[in-house]
């Protein structure tokens, strides 16, 4: 169960796992996620399903190592099994014929946007993609997104590749060039989604964002993931994770994402020092 069939290092600290999970692979829809636990004492954390391979009965997970749990997952090798993979969770993306859709992905957010843009495209939409990263070596899935989109624009914060600047700048440019845009889907760091929502708001372009709030169960039982949408409390794991970006209280989201900063640092430091102590292993460098 949950065997890792393929491991690819996409960028420093960003890894792709193809995981064999027959029942999930059969059911999952764009926009949905799974909750993972890597070991008996581990925490539960969500990752979006970035792709499905029906032939292998597998799903693709792409994750950035930002703390203990994701770093631990990163040490897994091909053939290893992930302790728990629960899903598919959350609502699926709304996939209709909208006309022209701009898909905006920032950083690790490029991964979750990929299955959505593929689905939008196969529904007959014209899909314009804007993807970006801090710098060239952190940009992921460029080839895949290029193939799946009608048009692709790339930005990097430092200008090392594509246009220098933020994905939101490109979106602003498209809007100002008066290209007809019927919908925007934006996934990335909260601040990026907030800026994108601010860009589209005056033009009343419907903008969908995917909220990465902290979760525990992922089934609506705990309320850890609560977010404010149009002044109402919602649970991101069951009512979302996608919401109308113009209604999201992003400041609250960002606040709540910082709840455990102190503990997360303690946990990661301990993990790194344990790793150094016991097994200066090569697991991390293993390319495949």
């Amino acid at each position: 169960m949950n065997k890792i069939l393929r491991k690819v290092i996409l960028a420093p600290d960003i890894k792709l796992f193809e995981v064999e999970t027959p029942p999930i692979a059969e059911k999952v829809q764009p926009g949905q996620f799974v909750v993972i636990r890597t070991h008996e004492k581990g925490e539960r954390f969500p990752l979006t399903v970035a792709d499905v391979n029906p032939k292998n009965h597998s799903i693709t997970l792409i994750f950035q190592e930002v703390g203990k749990s994701s770093a631990h997952l990163g040490t897994f090798k091909e053939g290893d099994e992930i302790l728990d993979v629960v899903g598919p969770l959350g609502k699926q993306s709304e996939i209709e014929l909208f006309g022209t859709v701009v898909c905006v992905g920032g950083g690790i957010g490029v991964a979750p946007i990929y299955p959505i843009l593929k689905a939008l495209k196969s529904k007959g939409n014209k899909v314009i993609s804007i993807i970006g990263a801090k710098s060239k070596n952190l940009l992921i899935l460029e080839e895949e997104i290029k193939v799946a989109s009608d048009k692709l624009y790339i930005t990097t914060d430092d200008g090392s590749y594509g246009k220098k600047g933020f994905v939101s700048n490109e979106l602003t440019r498209l809007i100002e060039e008066r290209i007809e845009i019927n919908r925007v889907v934006a996934i990335g760091p909260p601040i990026m989604m907030k800026v994108v929502a601010d860009v589209t708001r005056p033009y009343k372009i419907k903008t969908i964002v995917s909220l990465n709030s902290i979760m525990v169960d992922g089934t609506g039982m705990c309320g850890a993931c609560r977010v404010e949408i149009g002044g109402e409390t919602k649970f991101a794991c069951v009512d979302g994770p996608e919401f109308d970006g113009h209604l999201v209280n992003f400041d609250l989201l960002m606040n709540r994402l910082s709840i455990y900063l102190k503990e997360e640092k303690e946990s990661l430091d301990k993990f790194r020092s344990d790793l150094n102590k016991c097994c200066r292993s090569t697991t991390d460098n293993q390319q495949s």
């Binding site: 539960r44 598919p88 309320g223 409390t233 709540r256 997360e264």
Partner: protein, 463 residues
């Protein structure tokens, strides 16, 4: 016979001073001598009133007499005849509202400590080398799916397996037991005991599939293609909030989250375990039920200097078990009655720092028979807090209902069932426990499981 004591034989327990620094179980349980002494207090009534108070009709005088005779093996058989989870019920049943409330001895002094004896006999059995596996009927070839592994689901699964049916339990979480594992804390119900009961059910032949969310992976209708019948025991897992200004500030939890982090994820052992929890110094718990007591006592064990219960009615209306209230008081939990929060205030980083409350007074009795709390205008006051736990209740989880056409839903989001059989409005689907009644008790969930199992068995025999 020597004249017996008007009081229950006391149960030894960890002292409050000691126990607020650990998560170990508070009472130690009876020794065989203490159990026999207590059992001998029972009058062996011809018309035992106590049994009327037990939702699963345990033959109480019989098992107590067997204990008094030192015949523990027989006593556990009598018990298991009606109750497959005695180690759990003995610990968490609200006995003062049930069996012990009706005990004749209670009219003159304290009732027989039925719960403690139940716990004793179950723990005694667990200490023996071999747990007896009852006879399993020859296989019928019929398959039943059980959704949820709380007390309701475990009971249905055990009963139907004994009758020869193949049962598969699907559980959303990574550990079985429902509220017993994620909600009720270790110091009240050690997780090893829940594990033991689950092992027993597995030994009977029940198959357990964890991390499987029915409705998301397969729907009830899809399961009906593979199974002859389905029992839904998904509990009341949806936490209520009060939707007050500031309720989403950092440091404000639902009791479900607070207790799940601590119990299921073992956050009290962070960083050995990876899941963190905010350890407040001044913790306010909103509510007056078992869930609130559990949260307030957990807060103390996580290091709170002040753990406060904020309850809008007065002490007599509190729905928590007496024993939990007494334990909480002994441990130093501070009770603020006739008080209700109206807003929360945060520092500039979005962390809750103050709770604004209003004083209440009691008016006429409401539908529940308890006097209705009414806010006293202009009585607002503020109090510093750094963690708040909202423990005002839970309602049934809507996931199954919303993914299963043909299920009738009740007023409170519950699944409507026929009380005598557990049948839902949908063919071949039964339900019971908190999903049908709303948040209730372990023993009622078990009782509902038992009723449904009987009805499912009848149905399977005629098909």
């Amino acid at each position: 016979m020597p004249k017996s004591s008007p009081q229950k034989t006391p149960m030894r327990e960890q002292s409050p001073k000691e126990r607020i620094h650990n998560f170990n179980e508070v009472p130690f349980g009876y020794s065989p001598e203490e159990a026999i002494l207590e059992a001998k207090r029972c009058l062996q009534c011809k018309k035992p009133k106590c049994m009327e108070g037990c939702p699963v009709e345990i033959d109480i005088p019989k098992f107590i007499e067997q204990i008094a005779d030192g015949n523990f093996r027989e006593a556990i058989r009598t018990m298991k005849d009606k109750n497959s989870l005695p180690a759990i019920c003995g610990r968490v049943c609200p006995q003062e509202e049930q069996c012990e409330k009706y005990c004749l001895l209670g009219k003159m002094g304290e009732p027989v400590a039925i719960g403690r004896l139940e716990r004793f006999i179950a723990d005694w059995e667990a200490e023996q080398d071999e747990i007896e596996i009852p006879e399993i009927a020859p296989t019928t070839g019929k398959k039943v799916a059980v959704v949820g592994s709380g007390p309701a689901g475990l009971t249905v699964a055990g009963d139907l397996t004994k009758l020869g049916h193949k049962v598969v339990i699907f559980e959303a979480l990574h550990k079985p037991g429902g509220v017993l594992i994620y909600g009720i804390p270790e110091f009240r119900l050690p997780k090893a005991i829940v594990g033991r009961e689950v092992e027993y059910i597995k030994k009977l032949g029940v198959e357990l599939v964890l991390s499987y969310v029915v409705g998301k992976l397969k729907t009830v209708d899809e399961l009906l293609e593979e199974f002859d019948a389905i029992f839904v025991g998904t509990g009341a897992g949806l936490p209520w909030f009060m939707f007050l200004p500031g309720e989403n500030y950092n440091g404000i939890y639902s009791a479900n989250e607070y207790l799940t982090r601590s119990n299921l994820m073992k956050a009290y052992l962070f960083p050995e375990y990876d899941t963190p929890i905010v350890k407040g110094k001044r913790v306010a718990v909103i509510g007056g039920g078992n869930v609130a007591m559990d949260s307030a006592r957990t807060a103390l064990r996580l290091g709170a200097k002040h753990s406060m219960i904020i309850y809008r009615r007065s002490k007599v209306e509190m729905p928590a078990r007496n024993e939990e209230i007494e334990h909480a008081e002994a441990e130093g939990v501070e009770f603020h009655f006739l008080t209700n929060p109206v807003a929360y205030h945060a520092d500039k980083n979005g962390w809750v720092r103050e709770m604004e409350c209003i004083r209440m007074e009691l008016g006429e009795p409401d539908k529940s028979g308890r006097r209705r709390p009414i806010p006293i205008e202009g009585s607002n006051f503020k109090s510093p807090v750094d963690v708040v736990v909202v423990a005002i209740g839970n309602s049934p989880n809507p996931l199954i209902y919303s993914t299963t056409p043909g299920l009738e839903q009740g007023k409170h989001g519950n699944i409507v069932t026929d009380e005598a059989t557990g049948k839902t409005s949908k063919d071949r689907v039964w339900a019971g426990g908190d999903i049908a009644t709303g948040a209730a008790t372990v023993i009622l969930a078990m009782g509902a499981g038992r009723i449904a199992a009987r009805s499912i068995h009848e149905y399977l025999q005629i098909t």
